[in-house]
Amino acid sequence: MPRNENIILCGIGGQGTILASKLLAAAAMKRGMAVKTAETIGMAQRGGSVFSHIRLGDDVHAPLIAPGQADLIIAFEPAEAVRHLHMLKEGGCVVTSSHPIFPTSTLIGQSQYPVEEILDYLKNHVSNLTLVDSEQAAKDLGSARVLNVVLLGAAIRSGALSLNEDDILEAIHERVAERFHALNENALRYV
């Protein structure tokens, strides 16, 4: 029986998680894999915590992933990676931006964001961890809008994804306007 693959994308509403999810799904479909996904759409998109669940493989009933069953978490923000870490399989892989984004609640003293503690927690609890300096990536690539593709590239490099660069590139070419193709290709190969 072919192995199912469970992927979680998580971040903050507006960061581009939904497009990344669609790229993964499109690439998997090209490979002839069955795909089911579940998206956060609605109120949480206004700067709240959002997630997408992506399930690849034929032996899948529900679009949601059970806790402890994700092979890969792609996080657009480190605290969001920790928020979803209970979903990760033993020995699973995490690819995350290391750049913290502070919600207003932390600035006005309504919640805490201990950045070092959160990054350490990831380092201590994830064996296959890739930290992506997304601020540096944005400077190098000249755009902060392709973080989703940078992270997908890093996920391919981590070895936790059965899809390869060409699969994702093909999906990008079909979904993204041509004038952004070069930028996206650079983003995919950034890490």
Binding site: V35, K36, T37, G42, P63, E80, S105, Q112, E117, I118
Partner: protein, 602 residues
């Protein structure tokens, strides 16, 4: 046929198109919105599609078309059904000629709603048959069957899906446009004995409905959507919708399964067949224990000894969204399986709370802040409403004292005033909500001599649900350019003498206007007009001169704009979020923030 990767709501829309739908009407509401949007996008040119001003209007428009023999689809979220319930309750007594499907999106959790109401319960109350799909693929085929069913039995039918179906994606097989049904429409045939509801007709039709639904219980026992999956043992599981897939995920051996796709009329014969050799059945349901109650009833009616378990016996949580994990745990207990060992993990570090917030540069922030400043020190109540601006309740703005349902804030403000005349009562309502259900409340206030200030937050779109047009925008979902309905004209026509239109991003003017208007007697209105930042392109951005910034944090502590961040002890602005609205520039006591352009936001 071809394969497409579709959201559940898109599949529902394509299913309706394949079924030859002639007219689609709805009102936006998460998680239902994409159904109507997809029909509009994929319209072969033959379908009338409209965002009606509210769900009641949508239901009535669709009923009219169905009277004429057209196939019609109405879309709404579950609380929208409350608004549309008046026409629906009567419509079931009258019936339809063309197939009429009422697509209602339920929201277990709730994730984006006020209530966890169950449309399956509404189906029983209104006597309207209901279809409840378990996957995106099934939603596509089932809605086509729902149209045929509606037409065959001359009744509107519910098509109910929950968030995980509506916003789940699957690659599914769909028909090409050439394969869509093309059905003729007979037209409206005058017959007052059929289309005019009078008590005499109601009593006759009520009897027919009861008879029909009793017969449908038997018919639906043979419907393929109500299925038994064979297994071994004397314990069975009954489920529905997305929960059926959670049960399948949580199964380790073949336990007898019953899946109910038409909870009303309940397929009794099918349930009896299922329970024949079972000692116990666990009903795995979300929202109300609809199947569970029906199974208990069937056991009583047919003298079965099967014990029915579920929400009523404490085996399934009585409220909230079910998950694979919660269903797994319930099945472990029910089937006597050893629960999966919980992974011992270290306690998590504190995580930042990240609720949804008003966007950076959102004009609602400026409107709320102006009212807050203007009314400082006075006894006030701020009645909020449904939309992005409900987020005005968050700290540090804290400008939403009540929120109930669409349009309620205007009337709640009056109630408070009548009992507490020394309270300055404010009602905040968005432009789309004003059209949907704010006008009657305003007339009520004017007629019944309330003293209140109506604040219309006019951002020229239905923002929260993804920027749908409405009567004030001058566009329709079909792309027509139409005469704009002006909110100020409506308010003046009601009789309000003070109707001010102010740019909320002009902070000083906004505060002065609120002070002046709120001091006047009677019902008066301020329209804060500034477009939603999500649909405008900012041309300039503000930045902080850190040499001038004194680190007083006034901008951060007063406004709570997500673009305002701290750099050490001083304020800074995240350029990826700032829209240059200039509100923080106007709030800064030392003029350390410059560079924005509030007119560039228009």
């Amino acid at each position: 046929m071809h394969t497409e990767f579709l959201m559940g709501n898109e599949a529902i829309a394509l299913g309706a198109l394949a079924a030859g739908v002639h007219l689609v009407a709805g009102y936006p509401g998460t998680p239902s919105t994409e159904v109507l949007e997809t029909v509009a996008k994929r319209n072969p040119g033959t379908v009338h599609v409209e965002w009606s001003i509210n769900e009641k209007a949508a239901m009535e428009v669709a009923a009219g078309a169905a009277y004429a023999g057209a196939r019609t689809l109405v879309t709404m979220k579950q609380v929208g059904l409350n608004v549309a319930s008046d026409p629906l309750m009567s419509l079931e007594y009258i019936g339809v000629k063309g197939g009429m499907v009422i697509m209602v999106a339920d929201d277990p959790g709730p994730i984006s709603s006020q209530t966890e109401q169950d449309t399956r319960t509404f189906a029983m109350f209104s006597k309207v048959p209901l279809f409840d799909p378990s996957s995106v693929q099934e939603a596509y085929t089932m809605i086509q069957e729902a149209f045929d069913f509606s037409e065959k039995y001359g009744t509107p039918v519910f098509f109910r899906a929950t968030t995980r179906i509506d916003h789940g994606y699957e690659a599914i097989e769909v028909k090409d446009e050439a394969e869509y049904k093309k059905l003729p429409v007979e037209g409206f045939i005058k017959d007052s004995s059929r289309w005019v509801i009078f008590p005499r007709l109601s009593v006759i039709n009520h009897a027919k409905i009861e008879q029909r639904n009793a017969a449908l219980s038997d018919t639906l026992s043979d419907y393929a959507g109500n299925q038994i999956l064979k297994g071994s043992g004397r314990k069975g599981i009954a489920s529905h919708g997305i929960n059926f897939t959670y049960v399948q995920e949580a199964m380790t051996e073949a336990v007898p399964l019953l899946r109910i796709a038409t909870p009303f009329p309940f397929p009794e014969r099918k349930a009896v067949e299922f329970m024949q050799d079972l000692d116990e059945v666990l009903c795995v349901e979300e929202l109300d224990p609809v199947i569970e109650r029906a199974m208990v009833y069937v056991c009583g009616k047919y003298g079965l000894k099967t014990r029915i378990r579920g929400k009523l016996t404490g085996d399934i949580a009585p409220s909230g969204e079910n998950t694979i994990a919660s269903v797994q745990a319930a099945l472990d207990k029910y089937l006597g399986r050893a629960p999966k060992e919980a992974k011992q993990s270290d306690p998590l570090p504190p995580l930042p709370v990240r609720p949804p917030v008003l966007c950076a540069g959102c004009p609602h922030r400026a409107s709320f802040y102006a009212v807050k400043r203007a009314m400082q020190g006075q006894k006030t109540i701020y009645c909020g409403d449904i939309g992005c601006y409900t987020l005005g309740n968050a700290q540090p703005l804290d400008m939403c004292d009540t929120c109930l349902c669409m349009g309620a804030g205007i009337n709640i403000a009056q109630g408070v005033f009548h009992l507490e005349p020394d309270t300055k009562a404010f009602a905040f309502v968005g432009d789309s909500t004003f059209f949907a259900s704010g006008i009657t409340g305003t007339i009520n206030a004017f007629y019944n001599q309330a003293d209140m200030t109506l604040i219309v937050l006019d951002n020229s779109t239905t923002a929260m649900t993804g920027h749908q047009p409405h009567p004030g925008t001058g566009r329709t979902v079909m792309g027509q350019i139409v005469e704009k309905v002006k909110i100020e004209s409506i308010l003046k026509a009601i009789g309000l003498t003070t109707v001010e239109i102010v740019d909320p991003l002009d902070h000083k003017l906004a505060v002065e206007t609120v002070k002046r208007v709120a001091a006047e007697p009677g019902v008066k209105a301020i329209i804060f007009r500034s477009p939603c930042v999500a649909i405008t392109k900012p041309k300039a951005q503000s930045h902080v001169d850190s040499d001038r910034c004194i680190g007083c944090r006034r901008c951060i502590d007063q406004l709570g704009c997500p673009a305002l961040i701290l750099n050490g002890k001083k304020a800074a602005i995240d350029p990826s979020l700032c829209t240059g609205c200039t509100l923080c520039e106007q709030v800064c006591p030392v003029g350390a923030i410059t560079g924005g352009d509030r007119d560039a936001q228009k």
